[in-house]
């Protein structure tokens, strides 16, 4: 009830909006300042008002400071406590091995934690024996790597007679003893723990205030397989996996560009989920990269487990039905979009990479469009758009036409429809709702059902929905066709999230069509259009390049131009380098001067 009251309050009464500075993607960061063209009376007045405001603010600040000084006793204590906590979290590594061992055991709750392995041993250094231990998580690490690259050299090679022993123990271990290719030195526990949690092997040695961490990842994971949701006939058949580095490598393998930046970032206070921001530094707009970085860094949450979660934290509007970030499991798609000046984010543990910003037309494109010749791609896109219209509007149109616009239906067809509906006791809107809900049920159940039973559900669904429902006069046969075509249309939508949006909105259009016919549907289309035109994805209008219209972007939006015509990158992402190919990209077609006549002879 309280929630309902709040919602009603919010709807009926004005609440001053919070002043949030929205991100607008500019050509470069210096453009953010808007130059003042002329000074008017209003401006002067505003400036005076601002001065007064500033004066008041400074006075208030002074007052507040006095008050704060008085009440600061408690706060100071609290702050000290917090500082202590922080310092405990980031406390520096001790020179005493026993202290370090005790600390690590406490942190990892050893021996209750069964998969945390601590192995103590001895190293020989300058004819002395030094105690040491390694710590790693069993199952996340590769035992062979630890044995051959860590334990073996430390325990055995340290006994060899090395001539130059002028360096200290810290350098000696790093430079002479451990042959591992990724050995890092840390001075705080937190950094070492982060490494251990992500498949690293920590090494602590008595007498030195540093710890080493070697990368020894070795967990079980899925190999590179064909993408499940974005299948293509022509084009690469590799999909992302759940391993971050494998995914970044898949993208690098395609782009082979030293300007491709893979920036590591961790998300989640507890999970510290490793993520990577990918962009091409001399193509992508700096402010866009900065905005992505800022949004990801600002997330305050304990755990982030998948890119789907991250997407919801960084998208512009949670209430817009359409997705504002593109999720794909195809490395070639990510590479293509990076080359267009977009930014990608890969999350460890998720086979879906996020690409941003995204526009409405991007969601209608499929990976295959790039690889096939332009007339085929154009045809496919037009079919997809037709599919979208069917998925969204066909049931609503059916209800509207049968209830309000019967004159539209040709006479022969209206006889057929009325004859088929003669025995059906429900109004058409109820009829279509029954079918649509049943269809959604089958679709949901089809995903949840165990593999071998899947076909059975299909048969049951087809039997019940198709044959039996018509035979029982619950629905008319023509409605089965409408629902089936709608379903096929929704499967033609290439983006999973967008298809979801249309599935939801379809019901709204059914109700609007039933309420007032085409006017209701037009109202729905208009309101949806307004919402989409107002939407932005990382500062880029969702309906660009059509609303607002931007220059030179029509070559590859709905109708695809020949590949040599696609000379420029999308203007609305304000790339550093707008041109993606030369004006005459097919060098062989360029005729040398003076030889024009010869070709014809």
């Amino acid at each position: 009830m309280a929630g309902l009251k709040d919602t009603l309050k919010r709807l009926l009464f004005f609440r001053e909006p919070e002043k949030i500075e929205k991100f607008i993607l500019k050509e470069n960061s210096t453009d953010r300042k808007i130059p003042e063209t002329s000074i008017t009376n209003d401006d002067l007045q505003n400036k005076e008002e601002q001065k007064n405001r500033e004066k008041n603010e400074t006075q208030n600040k002074k007052k507040n400071e006095d008050l704060l000084l008085k009440n600061s006793g408690k706060e100071k204590q609290d702050a000290q406590k917090n500082k202590k906590k922080e310092s405990e979290d980031k406390s520096e590594i001790s020179t005493s091995l026993s202290d370090n061992l005790e600390y690590m055991k406490k942190i990892y709750t050893v021996p209750i934690n069964g998969d945390v392995v601590i192995r103590e041993f001895k190293i020989t250094f300058k004819d002395k024996t030094v105690d040491a231990f390694i710590i790693f998580i069993d199952g996340m690490t590769n035992g062979t790597v630890i044995n051959t690259n860590m334990l073996q050299p430390l325990m055995l090679l340290s006994n060899l007679n090395i001539k130059d022993v002028s360096e200290g123990l810290e350098e000696h271990i790093k430079n002479r003893l451990v042959p591992h290719n990724q050995l890092k030195i840390f001075r705080s526990y937190k950094d070492v723990i982060d490494q251990i949690n992500f498949g690293g092997c920590g090494l602590f040695v008595d007498g030195i205030d540093v710890a080493y961490a070697a990368d020894a990842k070795g967990w079980e994971h899925r190999g590179v397989e064909r993408p499940n949701t974005e299948m293509v006939i022509r084009g690469p058949q590799e999909g992302f996996t759940e391993v971050l580095r494998a995914n970044t490598a898949l993208v690098r393998k395609i782009l082979k560009d030293e300007d491709l930046i893979v920036e590591d970032i961790a998300v989640g206070k507890r999970s510290r989920t490793p993520c990577a921001i990918l962009y091409i530094k001399d193509i992508t707009n700096d402010s866009l990269v900065e905005e992505v970085r800022k949004r990801i860094k600002s997330i305050r949450v304990d755990y982030v487990l998948d890119s789907g979660e991250l997407e919801q934290y960084i998208e512009e509007s949670s209430f817009l039905p359409a997705p504002q970030i593109f999720a794909t499991e195809r490395p070639d798609r990510v590479a293509y979009m990076l080359a267009q000046g977009r930014v990608a984010v890969i999350v460890h543990g998720s086979p879906f990479a996020l690409v941003m910003p995204v526009t409405g037309t991007d969601l209608v494109h499929s990976a295959e469009d790039v690889y096939i010749r332009f007339p085929y791609a154009t045809l496919l896109r037009l079919i997809r758009i037709l599919g979208i219209f069917m998925a969204l509007l066909l049931p609503g149109f059916y209800v509207a036409i049968t209830n309000y616009h019967q004159e539209m239906i040709p006479t022969d067809l209206i006889f057929a429809i009325s004859a088929s509906r003669e025995k059906v006791p429900f109004p058409s809107v109820v009829e279509i709702l029954i079918m649509e809900v049943s269809f959604e049920l089958i679709r949901e159940a089809g995903i949840r059902i165990p593999g071998p039973i899947g076909p059975t559900l299909g048969i049951i669904g087809a039997l019940i929905l198709g044959q039996a429902a018509v035979a029982a006069n619950i629905v008319s046969p023509i409605l089965i066709i409408i629902v089936a075509v709608t379903g096929i249309g929704s499967f033609a939508v290439p983006n999973f999230s967008l298809a979801f949006a249309f599935r939801i909105m379809r019901f709204a259009f059914i109700f609007l069509g039933a309420a007032i016919g085409f006017l209701g549907i037009t109202t729905g289309v208009f309101v949806m259009g307004i919402a989409l035109c107002a939407a932005k994805s990382f500062g880029v209008p969702f309906m660009a390049p059509f609303g607002p219209r931007t220059a030179g972007s029509f070559a590859n939006q709905i109708i695809r131009a020949p590949i040599w015509k696609q000379e420029k990158r999308d203007d609305y992402v304000n790339p550093k380098d707008i041109r993606r190919q030369a004006k005459i990209s097919r060098g062989w077609i360029k005729r040398s001067p003076g030889k024009e006549g010869k070709g014809g002879k």
Partner: protein, 369 residues
């Protein structure tokens, strides 16, 4: 916040062209026949030329006020009083036209297919679109306008070309229709058909430069002149003069005549979507400017809180005329005959006063120095 929004030329031209041309789907072609008989199309051309000339004068006067709207200029001309007077006149004009148009659109829908539906119910759907548009702001309205304007234009031309078997060029005679007097003297007031140009004086800050202001003005008057002339001409060519005079919604009547073979014979409902969309664009844009002008006139920080009160006001006013004929007469007799005073004369007067005051303050300043 508002000053950060900038439109491209395509967006602003589309918006204004839709605002000026959308009356085609209401009673505009009939109105022109009423005024000039078979010379209706000549009257539109004449009105367009006059509108262009007046706009040329206005844009010349506008040159020192780059990036300022008419309310700002009202403020420069007469301080707070000037701003409030200019704003209030615009506000009343906008409220009147939105209320009457809302009623007309709703009544037209009732005539087309919702014969037994209460008018208030039909109006509520238009109102929902208006509120959504105003709430999301002018930026999204112009963007949607930029996408939909070509669709609406294609729909309109499909109707007019679809009835080509009904064209009879002999119906154009007498070319001067009801006479030179009606076209060129009395016809002056028909310049009001381009009254939506007044919205340009409100969106000037979003256009930034004077060049954009001029291009938008001329292009939108030009495009809508073509559309309006074409609609008047087809109305005469397709229907006889007496019939053209009686059609309440001539373009809908044209759509009913479209016959695409045996199977598609009554597709006017599909065309109805195009003109309902144009109605939504028109109503939401003008309704947004009611809230916008109110905010500017009274120097409010936000415009969104006044959307619902104005929606209620517009809804109530629109229900005041007892029937569709009264609503249409209100538009024709009062609005279409006199609104040019607000659209063209008021801006000229305000601009002249503002220029004179600036000049006076400059010379005064120089003398003092």
């Amino acid at each position: 916040m508002a000053s950060k929004i900038v439109f491209g030329k395509w967006e602003s031209i589309s918006l204004l062209a839709v605002l000026m041309s959308t009356q085609i789907f209401l009673g505009f072609p009939r109105l022109m026949v009423e005024a000039a008989g078979t010379g209706a199309w000549l009257l539109v051309i004449y009105a367009a030329v006059l509108a262009m000339l007046l706009f040329a004068v206005i844009s010349k006067l506008y040159s020192p006020f780059e990036g300022k709207d008419i309310i700002d200029i009202g403020g420069l001309a007469g301080g707070n009083a000037g701003r409030i007077i200019t704003g209030s006149i615009f506000l009343l004009y906008l409220i009147f036209i939105v209320s009457v148009s809302l009623r007309e659109y709703a009544e037209n829908m009732r005539i087309i297919y919702l014969n037994v539906t209460p008018i208030s119910f039909v109006e509520m759907f238009f109102l929902a679109g208006m509120i959504a548009g105003a709430f999301m702001g002018i930026e999204s309205i112009v963007r949607l306008g930029a996408i939909l304007a070509p669709v609406i234009a294609v729909g309109f031309f499909m109707i007019t070309f679809g009835i080509y078997p009904y064209y009879d060029f002999s119906k154009i005679f007498p070319v001067l229709g009801s006479g030179v007097n009606n076209i060129f003297l009395r016809g002056f007031s028909k310049i009001s058909v381009f009254s939506a140009i007044s919205i340009l004086f409100l969106i000037a800050p979003f256009l930034k430069t004077n060049k954009n202001f001029k291009v938008t003005g001329y292009a939108s008057i030009g495009i809508s002149a073509v559309m309006l002339t074409w609609s008047s001409l087809i109305n005469i060519l397709a229907f006889d003069y007496p019939a053209a005079l009686e059609r309440l919604m001539p373009v809908f009547q044209m759509a009913r005549l479209v016959n695409l073979g045996r199977f598609f014979q009554r597709v006017e409902s599909l065309f109805m979507i195009a003109w309902a969309v144009s109605g939504f664009l028109y109503l939401s844009a003008v309704f947004f400017f009611i809230a916008y002008v109110f905010r500017k006139t009274f120097k409010l920080e936000y415009y969104r809180p006044v959307i619902f009160p104005f929606a209620t006001l517009v809804f109530t006013i629109s229900l005041m005329p007892p029937n569709v004929i009264t609503a249409t007469r209100l538009e024709i007799d009062y609005f279409r005959n006199y609104v040019w005073i607000i659209s063209f004369v008021l801006p000229i007067v305000v601009l002249l006063i503002a220029r004179a005051r600036i000049k006076a303050s400059k010379t005064g300043g120089a003398e003092n120095a």
